[in-house]
Symmetry: C2
C-alpha cells in the first residue's frame, strides 16, 4: 500500500493521528473509543483513521456495528529501521555546524 516513506510520515504529522497511534500501541480499540478524547465530529475523525489506514499504520475489522482498529507493527518497524540505519550518519554530523562556524568565523 505505502511505497513511499513520506506518506507514512505525513500520516503521523497531525496531532489527532499521532495520538491515535499512541493509543493503539496500548491495544486494539473501536472507532468510538478512539474518537472519545478528540473534540471533533465522527466524520472528521474517521477521515483521520482512513489516512492512517492508507499509510499502513493501522488496520481495522468490522464486526457487527463496531469497527475495531489495530496498530500495524510492520510499518512501525519500517519507520524505526529507517532511523536505525541512519543513526551513524547524523552522529557523524554532530559537530558539523560548530566546526563550520569555528572555521569561518561567526559573522
Amino acid at each position: 500500500m505505502d511505497k513511499h516513506l513520506y506518506h507514512t510520515f505525513h500520516a503521523l504529522g497531525d496531532a489527532t493521528r499521532l495520538a491515535v497511534v499512541e493509543q493503539l500501541l496500548k491495544g486494539p480499540a473501536s472507532v468510538s473509543e478512539l474518537a472519545g478524547p478528540h473534540d471533533m465530529a465522527l466524520p472528521a475523525f474517521t477521515k483521520h483513521l482512513r489516512v492512517l489506514e492508507g499509510a499502513g499504520l493501522i488496520s481495522s475489522q468490522k464486526k457487527g456495528r463496531v469497527r475495531t482498529c489495530f496498530i500495524q507493527a510492520p510499518t512501525m518497524c519500517d519507520l524505526h529501521e529507517w532511523f536505525a540505519l541512519r543513526q551513524r550518519m547524523w552522529e557523524a554530523r554532530l559537530d558539523n555546524l560548530a566546526a563550520y562556524v569555528e572555521d569561518n568565523g561567526k559573522g
Copy 2:
C-alpha cells in the same frame, strides 16, 4: 522550537523535504546544491527549507551570498528514540489482528 513531535513528522511528510534530509545526512550543502535535484523554482524550495528549520530538523548559516544547511542531529535522535521507546509495544501487538480474527470469525 519544536515542542510537538507531530510537527517534526509533518516536516518529513513531503517528498522534497525528506529528500533534503537524506541529502544533508551525507554532509552540509548550500541552498542551490540542495535545490538542484528538485524540479521547482527557488522560492518554493526555500519554503521547504524553512519548514525543516522550523521543525528543528536542519539549521543553516549564511556566509556571504551562500547559505549552508546542516542536519540537526539532536532532533533526528529524538525521533529515533520515540520509536525505540515504543518498539516493545508494537511487538506486543504483532498478532493482535490475527488473534482477533481467529477469535471472532472472519465474517
